[in-house]
């Protein structure tokens, strides 16, 4: 059995909740007034859609397209979580639309508006989460209790260990970075947390992190696919999750989703979404973010400024977070996906991927076996991507205070300019991406994977990536001494980058090179059937799965380290 990283008991004892009782939580307030809130979401979404599709014909066309797509989805890609009455609903809508298109405007008498209302309302209800304090508390305790047990049972190999509290989640999950600032900002404004997304586990993990930092539950957008699994659905619902269905790309749905997030943020509900949209298939840190939900933060802030022409309204803070693992269970399937899309005909899939029951197995493996996780909390940003200080003041590059309201002003007034805000969202997204890279914590396992893959690829300069990945793994070997030299060089560069504030690294990266390399080798993709990196009998570095090695290697792409190999 491989040596697992020695984990020290974590020193921090935990954080006091920043708000006394659950009734004070914005998330709870929202779900208490669920009906009114959804009515508002529906109404404002409709207004927005009417603005985008002003004429009757445009609206009917849009609704027809929506109905068509929805029926298509039902035929092609139906999920367990989808409500039973969906086919009936959409076929009725379709029929009514057909009837409607034969009528003139007077005859049809605003029928299309009713249909729009019906559709949007349905979507709003579907998206909305319902936060119940009792099940939140229950879920929280269950997670704490069982994970704690499993952890101890796995760590201390005695039966009795299941009932001990020697290790807790806190020992396993290291939270580093601007925790104090996050807590301070959550008290005075609305926090929008945007973590990187590598694994399905992220949702649960981040939920736990938020709780353990003493923050009230966040409203968060979770992929509807996760709700397919009953047990997940239970936890998600009780943790305040709202549902994001990536199959639905129609305008009414997207506008409703954005409005839901927008209004929730305006009402002060701390929110969380994965701006990468989906798990990183390649193992790369997200370079491109989905701008849809991110733009709701910008819009919400602008609206708050508009509605409070004189005073200072609630401020919205964007907090980037990176999650670091030694091991991502889905890695083989993810990278397979990625290579298929990327390589098209140059890449041949070798195996079928398996079903979603993986998730539960994954959780189990994850929490019962070693391999620590770190969560880096980034500094607070305003919606323009400016850093803020502990009091929430936006600062320019020279540390001077500035007023973000002025970004939204034309001729002395706060104005609405969609195109401008799209551009702002893009700027914010670029800033978040650069923060991801900056607060990323390099693990020994990332580094060995990076160095090994680059060194191997260097040996076949004539092959493109896909040609290289098709090489039989048996032919690939790096002499240990050679590996060590390069490893040292790259590690030095990481130190260097850290000094310049461009990346962080885990403390376990320091120390004697041989030990650090062993740590890396032992932990990289530790529970995969085929290990991405091993030492062979001669003590040289070999791989059993080049694709997965590529995946873990990608974590360190984007720092220009390749140039040094």
């Amino acid at each position: 059995m491989a040596e697992i990283l020695v984990e020290k008991k974590n020193k921090n004892i935990g954080y006091e909740p920043i708000l006394e009782g659950i009734p004070d939580w914005p998330v709870y307030q929202l779900s208490k007034n669920r009906k009114e809130f959804l009515e508002e979401v529906t109404q404002k979404s409709i207004d927005q859609i009417r603005l985008l599709r002003p004429s009757r014909k445009q609206l009917i066309d849009e609704l027809e397209a929506t109905a068509f797509r929805e029926q298509n989805r039902l035929k092609r890609n139906r999920w367990r979580v989808d409500p039973k009455d969906e086919p009936r609903f959409w076929s009725r809508i379709k029929n009514e639309l057909v009837e409607l298109s034969s009528k003139t405007a007077e005859n049809g008498a605003k029928k299309e508006e009713d249909l729009l209302h019906e559709i949007v309302q349905r979507y709003a209800n579907e998206i909305a989460g319902s936060f119940k304090p009792s099940s939140y508390k229950f879920a929280r305790e269950v997670i704490k209790f069982w994970f704690g047990r499993l952890l101890n049972g796995a760590r201390v190999k005695k039966f009795g260990a299941y009932f001990r509290n020697q290790y807790t989640l806190r020992d396993k999950i290291h939270i580093v970075g601007k925790v104090k600032m996050l807590r301070a900002l959550a008290k005075q404004g609305t926090v929008v947390m945007v973590p990187t997304h590598f694994s399905n586990l992220d949702s649960i993990l981040i939920g736990w992190v938020i709780h353990s930092l003493g923050l009230p539950a966040f409203l968060y957008g979770a992929g509807l696919n996760l709700f397919n699994i009953k047990i997940f659905a239970y936890f998600m619902n009780s943790l305040g999750a709202y549902k994001v269905d990536r199959r639905k790309k129609n305008l009414p749905y997207l506008e409703t989703l954005r409005m839901y997030s927008n209004l929730a943020i305006q009402k002060g509900a701390h929110s969380l979404f994965f701006p990468g949209g989906t798990r990183s298939r390649s193992g790369l840190i997200e370079k491109q973010l989905k701008l849809g939900l991110l733009s709701t933060a910008v819009e919400a802030q602008r609206n708050l400024y508009r509605e409070n022409a004189t005073g200072e309204p609630r401020k919205i803070f964007v907090i980037p977070v990176t999650l670091n693992y030694h091991f991502v269970l889905e890695a083989p399937e993810l990278i397979e996906d990625y290579l298929q899309v990327k390589g098209q005909d140059r890449y041949f899939a070798e195996q079928d991927s398996y079903g979603s029951f993986q998730l539960i197995k994954f959780m189990f493996k994850f929490f019962t076996k070693g391999s620590s996780i770190s969560v880096s909390i980034g500094p607070g940003l305003d919606v323009m991507g400016n850093y803020v200080d502990d009091n929430g003041n936006s600062l320019d590059a020279n540390g001077q205070r500035l007023n973000p309201r002025e970004y939204f002003m034309t001729n002395g007034q706060v104005t609405i300019d969609k195109q401008r805000e799209n551009e702002y969202t893009r700027m914010l997204s670029a800033k978040v991406v650069s923060e991801y890279h900056r607060i990323n914590r390099v693990f020994a396992s990332h580094l060995v994977a990076f160095v090994a893959f680059e060194m191997l690829q260097r040996k076949f300069p004539k092959l493109d990536l896909f040609g290289f990945l098709r090489l039989p793994e048996e032919d690939l070997e790096i002499p240990y001494e050679e590996f060590k030299t390069t490893f040292k060089k790259i590690r030095k560069e990481i130190y260097h980058l850290k000094e310049k504030g461009k990346v962080y690294h885990a403390t376990h990266l320091k120390g004697q090179t041989d030990i650090v390399i062993r740590r890396g080798l032992d932990n990289v993709g530790i529970f995969h059937l085929k290990r991405p990196l091993l030492k062979n009998k001669k003590g040289n570095i070999v791989t059993q799965d080049l694709n997965v090695l590529y995946y873990y290697h990608n974590r360190l792409v984007g720092y220009d380290l390749e140039k040094l190999i």
Binding site: N411, G412, R420
Partner: protein
């Protein structure tokens, strides 16, 4: 849209050089203009004689030496100062700027950041972190995000004579483009839009290289065949260099690309053209530069483009050869012979590879 209460706010222009003065005059047809000049004598001359650099200045143009006043009075500012001073100017202006300001610059040149102890002569290569366009300088040095630029075939002298002409206003923001249009457009001056801000800036800078070459051809006494060859090959070279720097190929085919290139290459009035012309006549670069009232941006651009392409391992033939002429003592005639004998003769295939 055009008539707002604050539309009586003046527009700012920073830099009372040749182009700055012309732009101030064009703006003054629609609005009051505050024109910043560093030099007290210039301010006084404009106030007293209504004249600057040979241009008759509109009565709507009010010269000032006070940046703070200008920034407080104007929401929209056009900085038009030589690239070598641009960053310094921005640093001085920055404390008075707010996020509501709109800046549309009219400077064609690069800003370079050199490692400590190096000069532009000694530094071996330059990468994209060290070479910045003016809009990037504005973003780095101030809180202003609504940034745009002016580019295109804008020969100051023709513009001041009210000959027909056009400019491109480029920005990521529609708001900036519309503002620029509203302020600049008149019956003799057409304004085109472009969203590829960096591409437009780069095209405006790189064309100065080709302008020097064009002057050199002219100085050697060659005619239109040679010029046609130069302009078309020069355009290709601009595209290649421009792509490395982050511009969009299409931009180089537009008014700010080909349009500006053809104009500059055919204009014996332009400074860059003059540099090439006099070099071909056998004069030394040092002496030529000494005679010039304003900077010929092209000379610096060649130096930067050469070191930049060395870093990214692209081979811009015309630029490289001009570099040898300007800084390594090659004669213009030798340079031309070298180019004519160069064995690469694939015409163009860049459009298919975008």
């Amino acid at each position: 849209m055009t008539l707002r209460s604050s539309s009586d706010k003046p527009v700012g222009v920073i830099g009372a050089g040749n182009f700055g003065s012309v732009i101030a005059n064009i703006l003054a047809r629609n609005r009051k203009v505050l024109l910043y000049a560093r030099d007290e004598a210039v301010i006084k001359r404009i106030l007293d004689k209504r004249e600057n650099r040979g241009h008759k200045m509109s009565k709507n143009v009010l010269p000032t030496g006070d940046m703070e006043y200008l920034a407080n009075q104007c929401d929209v500012i056009f900085p038009i100062v030589p690239s070598a001073h641009f960053r310094d100017m921005m640093r001085k202006l920055s404390p008075y700027l707010h996020p509501y300001h709109i800046l549309i610059h009219g400077t064609k040149g690069f800003d370079i950041k050199l490692p400590k102890g190096e000069t532009i002569e000694t530094v071996k290569t330059l990468n994209r972190q060290q070479v910045k366009t003016m809009s990037e300088v504005i973003r780095e040095e101030s809180v202003v995000v609504r940034v745009g630029c002016l580019a295109g075939p804008n020969l100051a002298k023709e513009l001041s004579q009210r000959q027909p002409g056009a400019t491109v206003v480029a920005s990521h923001f529609q708001e900036v483009i519309q503002t620029g249009k509203r302020l600049l457009r008149n019956d003799r001056f057409q304004v085109y839009e472009n969203h590829d801000l960096v591409g437009v800036e780069i095209a405006g800078v790189l064309k100065n290289i080709i302008a020097i070459a064009s002057g050199a051809l002219s100085g050697l006494g060659y005619g239109e065949n040679a010029k046609g060859l130069l302009i078309s090959r020069g355009a290709v070279e601009m595209v290649y260099l421009g792509r490395v720097l982050g511009g969009d190929t299409r931009t180089f085919l537009g008014v700010a690309g080909i349009g500006d290139l053809v104009t500059t290459c055919n204009s014996p009035m332009s400074r860059n053209f003059t540099v090439g012309y006099r070099l071909a006549k056998g004069e030394k670069l040092k002496n030529i530069l000494k005679d010039m009232e304003e900077v010929a941006e092209g000379v610096n651009t060649i130096r930067i483009a050469k070191k930049f392409s060395d870093y990214y391992k692209v081979r811009p033939l015309i630029t490289d050869t001009l570099y040898k002429v300007l800084f390594e003592g090659m004669t213009v005639q030798d340079a031309l012979d070298y180019l004519m004998r160069y064995p690469l003769n694939v015409d163009i295939n860049l459009l298919s590879t975008t």
